[in-house]
């Protein structure tokens, strides 16, 4: 190879290429035909080719006017096989390999493979698997391709044999060990992995230990050292934590230091520790958090409040100083929604309590999340602050909404001995066309009769959240509730209702409904019905039976207070409805009905919640020509939404044939102790889709207010579950009625196992 300084390249000759195309190599070479090249440019060319990572060694020589490029292609990986990995799934392994450039079709690079091997060892050690053995092997497969096999012998995971805290006097080892996530191997940890050592968990546990002491006055607590030791066969791990408890400190004085855009007097009430109390880091942190919230509410969303205990070691006292840095007042520039492709932006934006181009207030942001989560078609809402590039006091809010499918759809074809072939379909869509409207269509037709109803609600018909509901129904049926004595009725009706929000949580609903009913006596009509039909409305004859036609109208008023944190599966807050329906006077029927529904969630502890759901109804007639409450206003008890264990609508007064006739006054109570959800995925605080509960129900219906007698109440207890399915909310219950009367047994209205599919919300 002549050593002359430089020459003009007339042509290229590539040697050693097996599969990579010449153009590809030339395209990476910074030299083209006609260039004048010297040693320096050739070295740059070699470096460039190395960059591609395709070649092991590269040589360039001059042969007359031809630049000879001799390369040795690195083999590419034809196939990768992973064997023996159980703890880490193959695709997770392949993903991390792909990130390091090891994938089928890629060039094989020895150092990267050994780097990967190192990485795998470290991952397994972090999970306490010190016995792991990783053997990569490469097998030639012809035309410069190789098979890469990585064999992993995972070995057994090291179990924790001992967690030993040394130097603790105030609390004994067992008391401290109970607080920790890591546990010693024993029969209790057979199914859990808590006896498997992992570095993160140990870090977390040390933090827990520190705050356990700091929350109980040990302001000077310190962890001297931590030892992790393994046994000779690397299957046992021994944890030792050497602590220096120090003494119990009492708070000498508390004060706040820093800037106070919100006057100090408004912040100091949030401080929960007073001079003289035993020092508690937890209470100090909680106070700091509350002060931060208060600042956040006035636009200082990025305020930082840090409690700093200043120890006076000689007399075991602490001066607690809260450093308050409000930071800049933060504004929201833009609020963007994501996660739903078919719901209008406005449906969510109108629920927001935080506005664009306004001070960021975390109170408003939390209120917004709560309101959005109360929409029936929303499952989970997550709001992130994204700083605006180039502006230190503006953020955008990224609101990610995960929607539940919009409606419940239920079609059933059944055949009942009593009802014959029956078809029923009910469609309930609570986000119609992505407008946030709710539409219900209900069709039921069987041997007993047909029932059609449709209703539409627009929650924002008027501005500022005035809702309007319009509905109508037609029914032609022989009984009002299953198990009743037959009476043929046809009725049609319409209703219109408005809802006005009067506060963040309360709304007033007012409206009217009109109804035309025709009752026709039948073979088995009971005496009670007969009297009602004869005494009310205009009578008529049809097919040899007498009947009567009645027109009635109602004014409906109700006050709703709802503070629950979710539409379905709520576990905090309450919902109370106080309603009054009054019939319009001098029509055929004059009556009124008052009801109170109260559903409350009481948090017994962060895992246990009690759900109370009570209902009180009182109705009566007024004026002189209505003697009895019309059948369609009668109330019933028993069944999955009343007293579980009894068949639907069977409790209460009975007619001459012993069948339920309904009543005017009802008391009903469902209490459910919600079991902690073992499988709830608490990191993401996503509501579980199902929950189990123990329940205690009580309820009865009386014909008249003076018949009310507590001994009539029926009680039942048992276990149940609620499950949100794509089809709607399923409720299972297995009940054991407590005070079953003989007459109940005779009428065999006991029904231990009940399923209820419905979307009541």
């Amino acid at each position: 190879q002549e050593g002359s300084a430089d020459f003009v390249v007339e042509d290229f000759r590539l040697e050693g290429l097996q599969r990579i195309a010449e153009e590809t190599v030339l395209s990476y070479l910074p030299i083209s035909v006609g260039d004048r090249v010297d040693q320096q440019r050739i070295r740059a060319g070699v470096r460039e080719l190395y960059q591609t990572g395709f070649f092991d060694n590269i040589a360039m020589e001059r042969d007359g006017g031809v630049l000879v490029v001799r390369v040795e292609e690195r083999p590419t990986i034809a196939r990768i096989t992973l064997e023996g990995n159980r703890q880490i799934e193959s695709d997770m392994l392949r993903q991390s390999m792909r990130e390091q450039g090891i994938a089928e079709g890629r060039v094989l690079n020895e150092q990267v493979v050994s780097l990967l091997e190192q990485e795998l060892y470290r991952t397994y050690y972090a999970q306490g698997r010190y016995g792991v053995d990783i053997i990569p092997s490469i097998r030639e497969v012809g035309n410069n391709q190789v098979d890469l096999t990585i064999e992993i012998k995972e070995g057994r995971v090291a179990k924790i044999r001992q967690i030993n805290v040394v130097g603790n006097q105030a609390f004994d080892d067992d008391q401290l060990r109970k607080q920790l996530e890591l546990r010693r191997a024993g029969w209790r940890t057979i199914f859990s992995s808590r006896d498997q050592y992992s570095r993160e968990k140990l870090g977390g546990d040390l933090e827990t230990l520190r705050s356990y002491y700091m929350d109980r006055g040990y302001a000077d607590f310190g962890i001297q050292s931590v030892q992790v030791a393994i046994g000779p066969d690397r299957r046992d791990v021994f944890l030792t934590v050497n602590v220096d408890e120090g003494d119990v400190y009492t708070v000498r004085d508390v004060n706040m230091v820093g800037e106070f855009p919100v006057p100090e007097e408004q912040l100091s009430p949030f401080i929960q520790t007073q001079p003289g109390d035993t020092f508690s880091l937890a209470r100090a942190n909680r106070s700091a958090e509350h002060i931060k919230q208060r600042l956040g509410a006035s636009g200082y969303a990025h305020a930082e409040v840090t409690p700093v205990p200043d120890l006076h070691r000689d007399d075991k006292e602490v001066s607690l100083i809260f450093y308050v840095e409000p930071g800049e007042r933060i504004y929201v520039r833009e609020i963007r929604f994501s996660g739903s492709e078919s719901t209008e932006d406005q449906v969510y934006r109108r629920e927001m309590r935080q506005f664009e181009k306004a001070p960021l207030s975390n109170v408003s942001v939390n209120r917004s999340r709560l309101r959005m989560q109360r929409l029936p078609f929303v499952e989970f809402v997550d709001i992130q602050e994204v700083p605006v590039p180039g502006s230190s006091d503006e953020v955008d809010l990224e609101v990610n909404v995960r929607e539940r499918n919009f409606g419940q759809f239920q079609v059933g074809v059944g055949y009942g001995g009593f009802t014959g072939l029956s078809l029923n379909a009910s469609v309930q869509n609570n986000n119609l066309f992505g407008l946030g409207h709710r539409a219900d269509i209900d069709i039921q037709s069987n041997a007993l009769g047909d029932f059609y109803s449709v209703s539409h609600t627009d929650p924002y018909a008027g501005s500022h959240g005035v809702s309007r509901t319009v509905g109508g129904f037609y029914s032609k049926q022989d009984i009002f509730a299953r198990g009743q004595s037959p009476v043929s009725t046809t009725s049609t009706g319409m209703n219109l209702r408005y809802g006005i929000p009067v506060s963040e949580f309360d709304s007033i609903r007012y409206g009217a409904s009109v109804r035309r009913s025709e009752f026709l006596l039948q073979q088995g009509t009971s005496q009670e019905f007969r009297e009602f039909i004869e005494n009310h409305g205009e009578s008529f004859e049809r097919g040899g039976f007498t009947g009567s036609r009645m027109d009635s109208a109602e004014i409906n008023l109700s006050w709703v207070r709802d503070t629950r944190n979710r539409a379905f599966m709520a576990d905090r807050g309450q919902r109370r409805v106080i309603g009054l329906d009054v019939a319009v006077p001098n029509l055929d029927l004059e009556y009124y009905q008052a009801r109170i529904n109260q559903e409350s969630y009481l948090r017994l502890s962060d895992e246990w919640t009690l759900r109370l759901d009570g209902e009180l109804v009182y109705s009566d007639v007024y004026g002189d020509n209505t003697l009895e409450l019309p059948p369609f206003k009668q109330v019933f008890a028993g069944g999955p939404t009343s007293v579980r264990g009894y068949q639907a609508a069977r409790l209460g007064p009975t007619d001459e044939f012993g069948r339920p006739y309904g009543g005017t006054t009802k008391f009903n109570m469902q209490n459910e102790l919600l079991l902690p959800n073992l499988f709830a995925d608490d990191e993401t605080q996503q509501p579980a889709q199902y929950r189990f509960f123990l329940f205690f129900d009580a309820g009865y219906v009386w014909e008249d207010i003076d018949d009310v007698d507590a001994s009539d109440l029926r009680y039942s207890t048992g276990i149940g579950a609620t499950w949100i399915t794509p089809m709607g909310i399923l409720r299972f219950s297995y009940a054991r009625p407590i005070n079953v009367r003989d007459e109940d047994r005779e009428r065999n209205i006991i029904d231990r196992f009940q399923i209820d599919l419905g979307g009541s919300f």
Binding site: T76, E344, R349
Partner: protein, 239 residues
């Protein structure tokens, strides 16, 4: 103890590039997209960084697009761009990134009822617009650039209408700074678009409501001068 064996796929070194390619396209015609993807992947693995390998990568983008997998198409296109920094097929890859997120009209029922899909959220429209813009800036005269420019106009108007609806919402609620900001997005960031006069309407009202009479008057003059025939108080027509 029996370790779980990875299923041994047959390494068919036998089929040549052309045969694999044939097999892939026969499967695409037959609608067997997964099968086509498999043969294209094998083709790419056997001939990496070669013209056949590149073509296989390009076809994989197209097949993922046919499978209506938006994210998959965008990722495949991105991989091609990363791995072939000097290929002459790059415009196609950028174009497909735009097409991955481009959508026409939203769901069927909303279209039948004539609801404007700009009222929905416009994340996909923004992603599609950014991809097309990158194509037009990098390869202004490639044969995909003209179609991309047309689609960009459509997307820009969709985004502008979206901001207009939000501005209108805030105006109705009485949040005038928010309304003005959204109107400004239409007027400043998304030019040219057919929504500007309607946005100026909102801007004028917002200024008037906060007492900025001079700004309101100036803006009304801009509106009358540049959009004389605009009728106030209307909703921008959906394209």
């Amino acid at each position: 103890c029996g370790t779980t064996q990875e299923p041994r796929q047959p390494v068919d070194l036998g089929m040549s590039a052309e045969e694999l390619y044939e097999q892939a396209w026969r499967r695409i015609q037959g609608g067997n997209f997964d099968g086509a993807m498999q043969s294209l992947r094998r083709l790419e693995a056997r001939y990496p960084f070669s013209p056949e390998g590149q073509q296989a990568q390009l076809d994989q983008i197209f097949v993922t697009y046919l499978q209506r997998d938006r994210r998959g198409t965008a990722e495949q296109a991105n991989r091609f761009i990363r791995e072939n920094p000097r290929s002459e097929h790059l415009p196609y890859a950028y174009y497909m990134q735009g097409m991955a997120w481009f959508e026409t009209r939203g769901s069927f029922t909303r279209r039948v009822l004539g609801f404007d899909h700009a009222r929905l959220n416009i994340r996909n429209a923004e992603r599609s617009f950014d991809a097309f813009r990158e194509l037009v800036e990098r390869y202004p005269d490639s044969d995909y650039a003209d179609d991309a420019r047309l689609r960009m106009i459509y997307l820009r108007n969709t985004m502008a209408r979206h901001h207009w609806y939000v501005a209108r919402h805030y105006l109705d609620q009485g949040a005038y700074m928010a309304a003005a900001a959204r109107a400004t997005r239409v007027v400043e960031d998304l030019q040219p678009n057919a929504v500007t006069p309607y946005a100026l309407d909102i801007l004028i009202e917002a200024y008037a409501a906060v007492g900025e009479e001079t700004l309101a008057a100036d803006t009304r003059r801009v509106l009358d001068r540049s959009y004389p025939e605009h009728r106030r108080g209307q909703r921008p027509p959906a394209l």
